[in-house]
């Protein structure tokens, strides 16, 4: 599908790979500075525009397919942005500022933004079939290239995946799902399936779910909640073999020997930056594309932003891939601004996420899985109310908050995010940060002033 003035042989002023959080934020920010320049967005997907994190809400039936869009229909027209769907970029030639798509087209650019996000990982898993199918020449292992050949095995990172999953559930009356991976996407999927009344089994390699973002106590609350609703969680475990029946998944065997029946398997072991298109371009990459604080890559006129990059983690003081929506938007905004001649810089970010499982909301941000240090430079305050399923933890490093977990009650969590982001010295208010009514009035007066000046408050 082509929208807007794409078909022209002139070089495109702003060519953007990626039609999601980061690419769209960039296009908007370009338009703030340049009302005329030609903007073209390419996406490998068939859908014109949707919000990726909403796909699990779509699965849960909380939002309809008609409402899953991120931008209003008029967005592209009003901003005069060309959009090309079904256009998978396969190679970039930074020597002559051009790129090629899978369907054989090529595009020339003046400035290029790579906002191509991440790709799901599919590990290799042994596969056996039951009954008469044995004779057929079926693959012995599934992996990223062939898992789609088996009915009922999915990854869940695109709207196409979600639609296929919904269809499969409806057609095959699935009520019993295995989720491989207890990280964020695994738990977001769990949230959706539990909401629709399915039984789930989560299989996680680490010794607890959400191990990267939660500590033991917080993981424990969520695990107990999921288990006590009649679902299974296997930690320190993985799937060693899957079983199929008539070309469809029917169960799996875990490392510890347990056998589980299931009508569907969601593979959610992680996402990696989709950097394969930078091969042979000279664009420097590590795990993700390397960028400076203007979101410039190592190659002139090529920018990158969002889940595909490694960017400054202000808490670690080093570049790393933090694949979350707010940072993808912020980086896209900065990239677009610089592409259009602006001077905004990216001040770095830190991890944050919110999940709600079976009615229990939770937030985690920064570095949370940390214990107090002997020399007092790292302090940890925690409070666990097991009966009320509430937990709060604040990690303080060198008198600055560097991590927060809130489970059960997440009200005003953003105040802590502000303290983390602005690296505020909280030595004077340590006794207050755990109060139920902790608020703006408790903040150090300098920071309170900073917060409010310029944004409209006089204090």
């Amino acid at each position: 599908m082509d929208k807007g003035n794409i078909m022209s042989n002139d070089s495109i002023d702003y060519l953007i790979i990626g039609n999601s959080a980061s690419g769209l934020a960039a296009a908007e920010s370009i338009r703030e500075l340049d009302g005329q320049g030609r903007i073209v967005i390419l996406t490998e997907e068939e859908y014109e525009n949707y919000s990726k994190p909403l796909i699990t809400y779509y699965l849960a039936g909380r939002i309809s397919a008609g409402r899953i869009y991120l931008k209003e229909e008029s967005f592209y027209r009003e901003n005069n942005i060309g959009l090309l769907t079904g256009a998978r970029v396969i190679s970039i030639n930074t020597g002559n500022n051009s790129l090629k798509t899978e369907d054989g087209r090529s595009f020339e650019y003046i400035r290029l933004l790579i906002a191509s996000g991440g790709k799901p990982i599919v590990p290799e898993i042994r596969h056996s079939t039951a009954g008469k199918e044995r004779k057929k020449n079926l693959e012995r292992y599934i992996d990223g290239s062939n898992y789609g050949n088996i009915g009922g095995i999915f990854t869940l990172t695109t709207l196409k995946d979600a639609i296929a999953i919904k269809e499969y559930i409806g057609k095959n009356k699935i009520d019993n799902i295995c989720i491989l991976g207890g990280g964020l996407i695994g738990l977001k999927s769990a949230e959706a399936f539990l909401e629709t009344g399915m039984k789930i089994t989560i299989i996680e390699l680490a010794d607890r779910i959400l191990a990267a973002t939660f500590d033991r106590e917080a993981s424990g609350i969520i695990e107990n909640t999921i288990r006590s609703a009649g679902n299974g969680i296997y930690t320190g475990n993985t799937i060693e073999e899957i079983f199929t029946d008539n070309g469809r998944i029917s169960g799996c065997r875990l490392k510890d020997g347990s056998q589980i029946e299931c009508g569907m398997l969601i593979i959610a072991v992680g996402v990696v930056p989709g950097i394969s298109i930078t091969r042979g371009t000279g664009i420097k990459t590590s795990r993700g594309i390397l960028v400076d604080d203007h979101m410039k890559t190592s190659v002139k006129n090529v920018y990158a932003s969002g889940d595909v990059v490694e960017s400054m983690d202000i808490l670690l003081g080093e570049n790393r891939n933090i694949a979350i929506w707010p940072l993808a938007v912020r980086q896209g905004y900065v990239a677009g601004n610089n592409m259009a001649g602006g001077e905004k810089s990216y001040s770095g970010g830190f991890f944050m996420n919110s999940v709600e499982i079976l009615g229990i909301p939770s937030v985690s941000m920064g570095l949370t899985n940390v214990e107090a240090s002997g020399d007092g430079s790292v302090e940890v305050k925690k409070e666990l109310k097991t009966d009320r399923r509430q937990y709060k933890k604040v990690v303080i490093r060198d008198n600055r908050i560097s991590g927060l977990i809130m489970v059960g009650n997440i009200e005003r969590a953003g105040i802590y995010a502000g303290l983390i982001k602005n690296r505020i010295d909280i030595s004077g208010i340590k006794q207050d940060i755990f109060r139920e009514d902790f608020g703006i009035l408790h903040l150090p007066s300098n920071y309170r002033k900073h917060l409010v000046v310029g944004e409209g408050i006089e204090v």
Partner: protein
């Protein structure tokens, strides 16, 4: 209506902490304004339990402070919103949450450094915040503050 499209100087609520008595009338008028009937007696009797105030009074001893969404220039809630519900109006700069689009993921609550967004758990679970009473000349919290601790004026002044 206030503020023409493209106006640089946009009207905002300013807080004058030293005048706030902590009477919480702003909260009540905000609740009434966002109730179904919009009538104070009826709203009080039947609806208020279900309506969250979108302005929050904080109090420590004699210090009080009323805070609502600051409609930030670079709004972190808008960047954090995964559904496209939280939007900043290009012309007026007012940040509003499209309640039909909100899925209640609470990303905005996690991002707002003022703690000015709340979970509204009545009906569909959605984010609740100040809309600057766009259909009024003056936001009701400002209009009904007995001590003029809230002021509504151009940001440029």
């Amino acid at each position: 209506m206030r503020g023409k499209p493209g106006d640089e100087a946009m009207k905002r609520i300013f807080i004058k902490e030293e005048y706030c008595l902590g009477c919480r009338l702003c909260e009540i008028y905000c609740q009434v304004k966002h109730s179904k009937s919009k009538k104070i007696i009826k709203a009080f009797k039947e609806e208020l339990v279900d309506v969250l105030p979108r302005v929050l009074v904080e109090e420590i001893g004699h210090n009080a402070f009323a805070i609502q969404c600051r409609h930030c220039v670079d709004a972190p809630c808008v960047a954090a919103c995964i559904s496209g519900a939280m939007q900043k109006n290009k012309n007026t700069g007012v940040v509003t949450c499209d309640e039909e689009k909100c899925v209640g993921c609470w990303s905005c609550i996690m991002a707002c450094p003022y703690g000015a967004i709340k979970r509204d758990l009545v009906g569909r679970k959605i984010a609740s915040k100040c809309d600057l009473c766009e259909d009024e000349d003056i936001p009701v919290c400002v209009k009904n503050c007995p001590n003029e601790a809230l002021e509504f004026r151009d940001t440029g002044e």
